[in-house]
Amino acid sequence: MDATLQTKPDPGTQAGGCCGCCPPEPTKLTEVTEPAIRLLVDRFYAKVRDDAELGPIFRRTVADWDTHLSTMRDFWSSIMLTSGRYHGNPVTAHRRIEGMTPALFEHWLGLFAETCNELFDEAVAATFMDKARRIATSLNLALFYRPEHDRPRSAP
């Protein structure tokens, strides 16, 4: 599924380039919609699974990718479209993952930004990234910088 996604042209790709000899300029999505979120989530996690740093952690943690992708679509739909479809506890979920480090959040954000910029125009990509950065910072603080949490931290 992921390999297929990667080889597909971008949505809304225009036929023909500027002069007929260049590759066509992909049209960036300008709206946050459920199909756009699906596209983002599927493409992002295809990258994650191939990523040298994140891939091993996700492969170790995610037992069922179909379920995970569906959950992540619900998550981003709840964040971006206030659909209320996701109900969960990301702090607890991340706390269970062995090998988490603050640097991994940064790496995750880099890959997410890359995917957003491929699919969306500047404004929409910025909206996604604003949310993603806030959530990453919040999870980072919850995992590594709150002394009252019981599990020992693997990073300062």
Partner: protein
């Protein structure tokens, strides 16, 4: 970083926020809601949903007292993720000054487990890590 419920929620308690919160981090007092600062992921979805404009990011100045109150009562009040009817006089109290001194109650609200408040329709997704 977290969002914080402040004074104008008191006696208004519209509960629009609890429906959109993806991490179910709202807790219900008798006449006010609070956010659990350790559970909030700072997504900001709740802030524009509040008709009373009582929710702010903790990065705004002057919210220390409210942050403390949210943290304290989130430990003892019941969780709420399903909206109910707001108080019939909610609009009358919207914007009224000194609500904390005059009306704040430390008593718990009913949360989702009593009355008509069913559990959230979706199954918990605790395993889901973005």
């Amino acid at each position: 970083m977290t969002f914080v419920v402040t004074e104008n929620c008191i006696k208004c308690k519209y509960m629009d926020c609890v429906e959109v919160c993806p991490v179910d981090c709202f807790y219900e007092g008798k006449n006010m809601l609070v956010i659990h600062p350790d559970e909030c992921i700072d997504c900001g979805v709740c802030e524009p949903e509040c008709p009373a404009e009582a929710i702010f990011a903790d990065t705004e100045p002057g919210l220390d007292t409210w942050l403390t109150l949210n943290a304290e009562y989130a430990q003892v009040w019941p969780n709420i993720a399903v909206k109910r009817e707001p108080p019939p006089d909610a609009k009358d109290f919207d914007g009224v000054p000194d609500k904390f001194e005059k009306h704040f109650s430390p008593a718990p609200g009913q949360g989702d487990t009593d009355g008509d408040g069913a559990a959230p329709p979706d199954s918990p997704q605790d395993e889901a890590a973005p």
